[in-house]
């Protein structure tokens, strides 16, 4: 494997880490809105309380890694999707503020407002991330210097919105399963009931998205045919894993259900990566302007240096992330430090 491919994988790992970890706390947003009782809401919020902040770091580090390894891609995507990314940033700031400020005052209206802000900004974030991914697959009109001159409306075409919707469904399902893991009693029962709807909803989105991709993304046809064995294997695995979730829940194996949901995110990202490789941004209609792991990358020297930085750093990060999740394992207990 050459360095550029390694970095394609590494950036992928960071963004998958983001999707898996921040996925469940983004999904918590709309679910929180569906529980009316303040105490239940606090329990849901505190299920993600100690870790949401660390989860968001995956996005920031993913962004930094993209800048370091593929500066051209970083520049093209972020300036080309300017309005969408600004909206995403506002949603993320607002979301952080909502979590922090909600608990600071007991007033009913105060809390209702921040709960609404939290739900709306979570859904908006998930949707916009999905739309961005959708546009990378669908293709944007890059010019010869790698610039995209579009605008928000150009980004919100049906295919990108479908990917956005799938992302929201995925994260709601993921959040749902995480919360089942962290709650008990009546609240958990309710969450279990919801899972009977959130899991099929995601599965439906996933299937529609895959069929649509095969049918409408004609520019991917060659790649899809060529990589058919891997892609169909991944897709089958993804469907089987997701189908296993309701089974695991019926048997009361909450941990396996959540793990399955993590794996379905991983398989989705693998599908995305396997379809895109070696491209990072597909250009349409002029495919020659696509940004790939070679014309979008930093020099070999830089990639090499950063590879060793990551080689040392990533295991350390994984080690203490895991130990922090371990410390906060088990059901949520509200204490004076809770949100």
């Amino acid at each position: 494997m050459d360095l550029n491919t390694i970095w394609f994988v590494l950036v992928g790992v960071l963004l998958t880490g983001y999707a898996v970890l921040d996925g469940f706390d983004l999904g918590t947003g709309p679910l929180l809105w569906c529980v009316p009782d303040d105490r239940d809401r606090r329990i849901l919020l505190n299920a993600i309380g100690p870790i949401w902040n660390g989860n968001e770091v995956w996005l920031v580090t993913g962004g930094g890694a993209l800048f370091a390894a593929f500066p051209n891609v970083y520049a093209s995507v972020f300036s080309g999707f300017y309005d969408a990314f600004m909206l995403l940033l506002f949603a993320l700031i607002f979301r952080a503020a909502a979590i922090e400020f909600r608990s600071q005052r007991p007033g009913r209206r105060w809390r209702r407002f921040w709960d609404a802000a939290f739900a709306v900004s979570s859904v908006t974030s998930a949707l916009l991330i999905g739309v961005a991914v959708g546009n990378l697959v669908w293709g944007i009109s890059l010019d010869a210097t790698g610039n995209f001159d579009g605008g928000l409306i150009a980004l919100l075409h049906p295919y990108a919105l479908l990917v956005g919707l799938t992302t929201v469904a995925l994260m709601v399902m993921h959040g749902n399963l995480y919360l089942i893991l962290k709650t008990e009693g009546e609240l958990q029962e309710r969450l279990r009931e919801w899972a009977q709807r959130t899991v099929p909803a995601y599965l439906a989105c996933f299937l529609v998205l895959n069929v649509t991709t095969v049918l409408t993304c004609l520019h991917l046809r060659e790649v899809l045919v060529q990589r058919m064995p891997y892609l169909s294997l991944l897709m089958a695995a993804s469907i089987l894993i997701t189908l296993g979730i309701p089974r695991a829940l019926r048997r009361g194996r909450e941990g396996s259900a959540f793990l399955a949901s993590c794996l379905s995110i991983v398989s989705l990202m693998l599908l995305f990566g396997a379809t895109m490789y070696p491209n990072l941004v597909i250009s349409r209609p002029d495919a020659a302007n696509s940004l790939n792991i070679h014309n979008g990358a930093a020099t070999a020297k830089s990639l090499n240096f950063m590879f060793y930085v990551a080689l040392v750093g990533v295991p350390i990060v994984l080690a203490y992330t895991a130990s922090i999740y371990y410390v906060f394992r088990g059901k949520v207990v509200l204490t004076e430090e809770s949100y």
Binding site: G64, A96, E100, Y320
Partner: protein, 539 residues
């Protein structure tokens, strides 16, 4: 306004708002380490109460700091795409390292610090506190590495993307070679090459040596100066809040401990700061003479340069409004700037002969000729002022920083003196009361000094985004338009206004509540859940 101005305003707005919070967490982190160490060593519940209180304050500041920090990571791409392409090979690395080595550490262990009181033991809690403080410092290190590289770029060369044919012919990227096969290759440019606007898109900075890039000529000075500034800010936050408790007679025992810790940290940091500041300023004189000349309002080159204290610098303009020079009216110490620049304090008379270059000779003729090939001497002289930073503003921000630093140092020293003589605790005496009241303003002064210093550093770099390599105007995103940036600025303003109001209200509420004694007093266990209040009682 054009996209460049708007993008600069947006960057300045987002970074200065963000920069309110990290200095406090860096300084408070140290205070928390001290308190947790004392708690583990002595087992005194007072330290535990204080640690809990300051951790709550820390948590609030940290949360806003993270929320406002996220845009910073992405604005290089959204607003400064040409910059990102130009320097990505070298500038992206510190940002990625910051994420990997600082953010994860900080936010991960913060979870243990904030929510781990009942889940981990005191020693583990102390360890988490150290990790959070260390993470905050690492974060500062990598951001300052990245920023210092923009100030004094090193360890790189410029390279141009060319089409190279099999027979060794090199052609610009835009050339259509027809059916001739070619490969794209980066061709090294000579070391004195100056980037022209038309080079953008196919010339970029390529790293030679990461060690040199990271430890570039200004990194260590600027790192020390900024981090010490952060310690001062954090220390004075603690000092001010404790002083307020003293004035109101609240939590007397807690207030004394906090005040002592704060005062010690503030004094040590203030004294160190003068050394770091001197070294930093001398570095600026050496590496960025244009910035130094603008900071001091120095027009002419020569020995015996004087140091400004207070006053006014303004532009001199010709009939068409073009800037031709500066006018400076200020109170100055003759020869002092030469002495400071030389660093030779033992021989002030000899040191006065040190030549300091003025704005009239900066930037150098060589640079201007390279940037404007074929320009006549008269044209060069006319173009020169366009390469000056905004001297009238820099003079003020720079001297404001020094003035505030002096006041803060005075306060810290006086507090130490009165603490040793016991007068500091005699709150009933009017002069002590007035002094404590003056301490309430100290955190604001420290914040203002930091911001003024940061503005001096960043505006002093203009019109370059990478000093004497890439102009700020050439760095903006080519596809982003003014209305888009204007909209995002307005949204940022709105959301930041809301955040600051809420932040200040909640911080004041926390200060009013103060530390909660763990023995007796309100309950510290899990709150009765029927209480809608959540945090109202008990904390």
């Amino acid at each position: 306004m054009n996209v460049e101005t708007l993008s600069r305003i947006q960057f300045a707005l987002t970074i200065s708002f963000h920069f309110v919070f990290p200095p406090m967490t860096i300084g408070l982190g140290l205070v928390l380490v001290v308190l947790q160490t004392l708690r583990v060593r002595t087992g005194n519940p007072l330290y535990l109460d204080l640690a809990r209180f300051w951790t709550r304050v820390f948590g609030l500041i940290f949360a806003i700091g993270v929320a406002t920090g996220i845009p910073m990571e992405f604005q290089f791409g959204t607003n400064w795409a040409s910059y990102a392409r130009f320097v990505g090979d070298i500038f992206g690395s510190p940002l990625a390292i910051e994420g990997l080595y600082a953010f994860f550490m900080e936010s991960g262990f913060l979870a243990l610090l904030l929510f781990g009181w009942d889940r981990i033991g005191p020693r583990m809690h102390l360890f988490s506190t150290c990790m959070v403080a260390l993470g905050a410092h690492f974060s500062a290190i990598w951001i300052l590495v990245a920023n210092s590289w923009m100030q004094t770029p090193a360890g790189y060369h410029l390279a141009r993307m060319m089409k190279v044919t099999a027979d060794g012919g090199q052609f610009p990227v835009a050339t259509d070679l027809g059916a001739v096969p070619f490969e794209l290759r980066e061709i090294r440019l000579p070391p004195d090459y100056v980037v022209q606007p038309e080079d953008l898109g196919h010339v970029r900075a390529v790293v030679d040596n990461f060690r040199e890039a990271i430890l570039n000529p200004s990194t260590l000075d600027r790192l020390a100066h900024t981090v010490i500034g952060c310690w001062i800010t954090g220390a004075f936050v603690v000092v001010a809040i404790s002083a307020w408790w003293c004035l109101r007679g609240r939590h007397p025992e807690h207030a004394r401990i906090s005040l002592k810790i704060g005062v010690v940290l503030a004094t040590v940091a203030c004294v160190l700061q003068w050394i770091a500041a001197d070294s930093t300023a001398r570095g600026v004189a050496r590496n960025q003479p244009t910035k130094l000349a603008a900071m001091e309002g120095l027009a002419t080159t020569g020995p015996d340069a004087s140091l400004g204290l207070v006053g006014w610098v303004s532009w001199r303009r010709d009939a068409s409004g073009e800037i031709t020079g500066i006018e400076e009216r200020s109170l100055r110490i003759p020869g002092m700037l030469s002495v400071l620049v030389s660093g030779d304090f033992l021989h002030p008379l000899r040191a006065r002969d040190t030549v300091v270059t003025g704005l009239q000779d900066l930037p150098s003729d060589a640079l201007l000729r390279a940037r404007h090939p074929g320009a006549s001497d008269a044209e060069i002289a006319r173009l020169r002022p366009r390469y000056w930073p905004n001297a009238p503003v820099l003079f003020q921000t720079y001297h404001l920083m020094i003035a505030l630093g002096s006041v803060l140092t005075g306060q810290a020293l006086l507090a130490c003196l009165w603490w040793r003589t016991g007068r500091l605790w005699a709150v009933e005496r009017p002069e002590v009361r007035w002094f404590l009241i003056s301490l309430l303003a100290a955190p604001l002064m420290a914040q203002l000094a930091l911001q003024a210093g940061w503005f001096t550093a960043e505006m002093g770099r203009q019109p370059w985004v990478v000093y004497e390599v890439l102009k700020t105007g050439d760095a903006v995103s080519p596809v982003v338009r003014a209305p888009q940036v204007l909209t995002s600025i307005l949204l940022f303003l709105a959301i930041y206004a809301v955040l600051s109001i809420l932040f200040v209200t909640l911080l004041l509420k926390k200060i009013r509540e103060g530390p909660v004694p763990s023995g007796g007093g309100p309950p510290t266990g899990p709150l009765p859940l029927s209480h809608r209040s959540g945090r109202q009682t008990g904390i």
